[in-house]
């Protein structure tokens, strides 16, 4: 039942944003809760001098901040990586959703908590790991998240990020990402060509990345209320 009311809302206001365009920009007033239905997007922050940091990726099923509209303005931008289809849920609809069902509210809190956990993991990733471990870690995370929403097929996922995207997300330069990806390939940990990523032995990749999936909290029932699963 909750499933259905959510589905309904995500069908109402759908818009499409072209690849490499912004969904919403830092400084703007958030109008709605965005749900990514299709495609990839990212949050990013930009320093006055142009340096750019991607602070999270959105894959299908992800919410961009339940309740953002509580805040007066965006403190970061959301950009489309590929062309994305995005559902906008108005504050009223969103409130209604939470009023109607305790379970949906729980699921939304769950999603927020996981989102926060991912963000902290990124901080630790960038702060402590070497380039090699760091990229391996990010790939593990993305792979598992895609798998969780049914977007993997025998160790293979669609992977639209450029090396520049990876660089902006890991705090490295594109040149160094390039070299590091080559090492990962050479070591047989990944296959990455064009838009396809293959991780032949996830356990091994997790190992070198010191990846512990606990922060994704994949076992909880709450996740089954995600927009896509």
């Amino acid at each position: 039942m909750e499933r259905e009311s959510l589905d309904q809302l995500t069908r109402r206001n759908v818009r499409t944003v072209e690849a490499r365009r912004d969904v919403i920009r830092e400084g703007e007033r958030p109008r709605a809760v965005n749900v990514v239905l299709e495609g990839w997007a990212c949050r990013y922050k930009q320093l006055p001098d142009g340096r750019r940091q991607v602070v999270s990726f959105f894959v299908p099923g992800d919410f961009c901040d339940a309740n953002v509209f509580i805040l007066k303005q965006m403190d970061h931008s959301i950009g489309a990586i590929t062309r994305v289809r995005i559902a906008e849920i108005t504050p009223e609809d969103f409130q209604g959703l939470m009023d109607r069902s305790q379970r949906v509210t729980q699921a939304l809190w769950w999603h927020e908590l996981v989102d926060a956990a991912i963000s902290r993991e990124w901080t630790a990733n960038i702060g402590q790991r070497t380039a090699y471990e760091r990229i391996a870690h990010l790939l593990c995370e993305l792979f598992l998240r895609l798998e969780a929403v049914g977007l993997s097929r025998n160790c293979k996922v669609d992977f639209p990020l450029t090396q520049t995207d990876l660089a902006d997300a890991t705090g490295l330069t594109a040149v160094h990402v390039n070299r590091t990806l080559q090492e990962l390939r050479r070591d047989g940990l990944i296959e990455l060509h064009g838009r396809v990523l293959i991780i032949p032995d996830l356990a091994r990749l997790q190992d070198v990345a010191m990846f512990n999936s606990n922060y994704l909290h994949l076992e909880h029932e709450g996740r089954h209320l995600d927009a896509n699963d």
Copy 2:
């Protein structure tokens, strides 16, 4: 009225944790929402090989994750920096709090959103800024947060972090933090001796740090329901 019911809850189960002890450890099941009443604490994550990343600091008034008990286990630890007094709010009380008042619920969401925003800012800070900018940025943030809860007095705040804490929070080594603090002192941007931090000209420090306070969302009313203000 909401103010009072919250105050009441934070008086009920208070415990004290000594400096440098853990409040709760990664892997444990979260039992309650923790509110820091007094002292400083931090969240941190530790890699299997010992590298440690502090992913946030808690100062008086801060909530450690509304609703954490939704999750099955902690994906990080919370450690006391100084001796801290912490109120534990049980899941039931917490739920009651939210059921009783829409405004409190909003304030809690506000707090979660700000917490997430801070976490993202840290990611960007570590990913993009130089050591000098990075430390300056962290000091700006902490100063403003302390000010917001009334813990500053003419440009001066109590500052119990060691250089090792700063190192773990910024992804630098303690040695380099030491050298960078000396530079900041030499440039007249900070005075830091013992447990006292003085920022004679905050605007100037913000400038070199490229610090934009928007992510703290200080202007919102919601913050006035924090445990300490």
